[in-house]
Amino acid sequence: MAMASATEPQQDGTRALAPVLKVLNGVPLAVWTLIGLLLFWEAYVRLANVPPFILPAPSAIAQEFRAYGHRLFPNALVTMFEVVFGFTCAVLIGVPLAVAIVYSKFIQKGVYPLIVASQTIPKVAIAPLLLTWFGYGMTPKIVIVILLSFFPIVINSVMGLRSASDEMIHLARSMGASAWQTFWKFRLPHALPSIFAGLKLATALSVIGAIVAEFIGADKGLGYLILIAGSNFDVARQFAAIICIALIGMCFFFTLEMVERFAIPWRNKSDVSGEA
């Protein structure tokens, strides 16, 4: 009993700290690394007296967010819309096109090689052309996002749909599966991991597409803000916009990751059991 009472206050002490420790433990290691880097950056700028038009301190960038947020936010929305809308169009065009390529000899032989060959044209090179065709609004930006992101979607979907083994197709036929059943119950679910790999590549490319398109000719969007801030030597504002872009990209990627977890539950289940 005496020992128990002796240890009790100590236990209470750790118990009080426990929730705090738990929260700290729950923060991923990468976040700690990021915090460390920001602290180093702040200290370096202050100690070395780096002028703010060369490299602003993180605190200055945070201040910029506060002062300039009302302009950043609507422009970020514009860019986000271009990215998400263009990406969605790319998926809606790319996946059915992949199905057509796999199922139609004509499209596979007559169209697919042209799609592959067209990838040697840098999209940036045709961006000015798109501006003359579609004007300065959102349309040319969305078109560029589609052009950039649709290729990995098509390629990965085609690979996934083709990768069904002979045995799997034999199995389907031996049960008397119709062409539709073979596609819907065998080929498509088998292709999902590969399709999602393509979609993830496409998220990064669609953000790049939107920004590049805004560089070339726009009157709103984060790319446009960066260009204007650059001509005014306003580096803090450029950083603020870049952080917005990164946040858009990350949100987009993680949303897709969540959808993937939902769509491919058999993958994570084995992952989780592997970790445990």
Partner: protein, 279 residues
């Protein structure tokens, strides 16, 4: 080791027909298969003749590349024969025969479906009654001691468990004819023994005809009513050996002198075919 039994005492010649038992369940008459591959014409099967009775368990033994899998593909209707005729229940096979149940060498489980769902795909494709099929699927899984794993994904199962699921899948619709292509080829000896017993148990109740391809002489003897020996490529039927061992088969029978005699006899046939070469 020279005490090989004379082949005539135990086996019947390859020309054996089933005149005594009436109509055969599966009848293969003069079937050949030629592949026109990249390496030109490959004659995979020379004329093959074979009749299989209803409810019979027939093993196909033959060296690698002799056309066993090809013969099974022809039986299932997944590949057309180059010539000859295959009938099942008197009906000629010229399209995939959905009445057959097929087990491939690889388990071909669908990664995205649990064990139970993998068995149930059979019912979904055939649009048969869901509740009834599910009850049978669970029954089959429990017969191969997988009831606790019915909701496990294939990635969470061992090789032997996966192959058991694929056998259950093939059995779900009570196929009158089972076609099995080296289903236990990739498994370790211990799992293999267990699965052989499981298979015999699963086949016992229904009056099912089984066409079973294997590389293993003891496996063929242990499971079968008749063992069909094929020649090296181009394959044809060299000899048919009747296995006269009581059923149900027990693992201990593999030490039975009669069993060992069969092993000697089949080994002798393969030696005479030049499949085994000893110095």
């Amino acid at each position: 080791m020279n005490a090989l039994p004379s082949p005539d005492s135990l086996s019947t010649p390859a020309t054996d027909t089933l005149t005594s038992t009436g109509a055969a369940h599966v009848s293969i008459k003069g079937v050949t298969k030629v592949f026109n591959g990249r390496k030109g014409r490959v004659q995979a099967l020379e004329p093959v003749d074979l009749d299989i009775r209803r409810g019979e368990f027939v093993s196909i033994l033959g060296p690698s590349g002799c056309g066993k899998s090809t013969l099974m593909m022809l039986l299932s209707g997944l590949l057309p024969a180059s010539s000859g005729q295959i009938t099942v229940d008197g009906k000629e096979i010229n399209a995939p025969n959905p009445e057959a149940g097929i087990v491939f060498q690889k388990d071909v489980l669908l990664d995205w479906r649990s064990a139970l769902e993998n068995v149930m795909i059979q019912a979904e494709i055939r649009k048969s009654d869901k509740a009834e099929a599910k009850a049978r699927a669970m029954e089959l899984l429990s017969m191969v001691s997988l009831d606790d794993f019915h909701d496990a994904y294939p990635s969470e199962l061992s090789g032997g468990m996966r192959q058991r699921v694929s056998i259950c899948r093939a059995l779900l619709h009570k196929p009158p004819l089972m076609l099995m292509d080296e289903p236990f080829g990739a498994l370790d000896a211990m799992t293999r023994d267990q699965l052989q017993l499981d298979l015999l148990k699963l086949c016992r109740d229904d009056d099912m005809t089984v066409f079973f391809i294997t590389h293993s002489i003891p496996e063929a003897i242990f499971l079968s009513d008749r063992v069909v020996v094929m020649t090296p490529r181009p394959g044809r039927v060299e000899r048919i050996v009747n296995i006269d061992l009581p059923r149900p088969r027990r693992l201990a029978m593999r030490e039975d002198p009669k069993f060992i005699q069969y092993v000697h006899e089949l080994t002798g046939i393969f030696k005479s075919l030049g499949v085994f070469r000893e110095e």
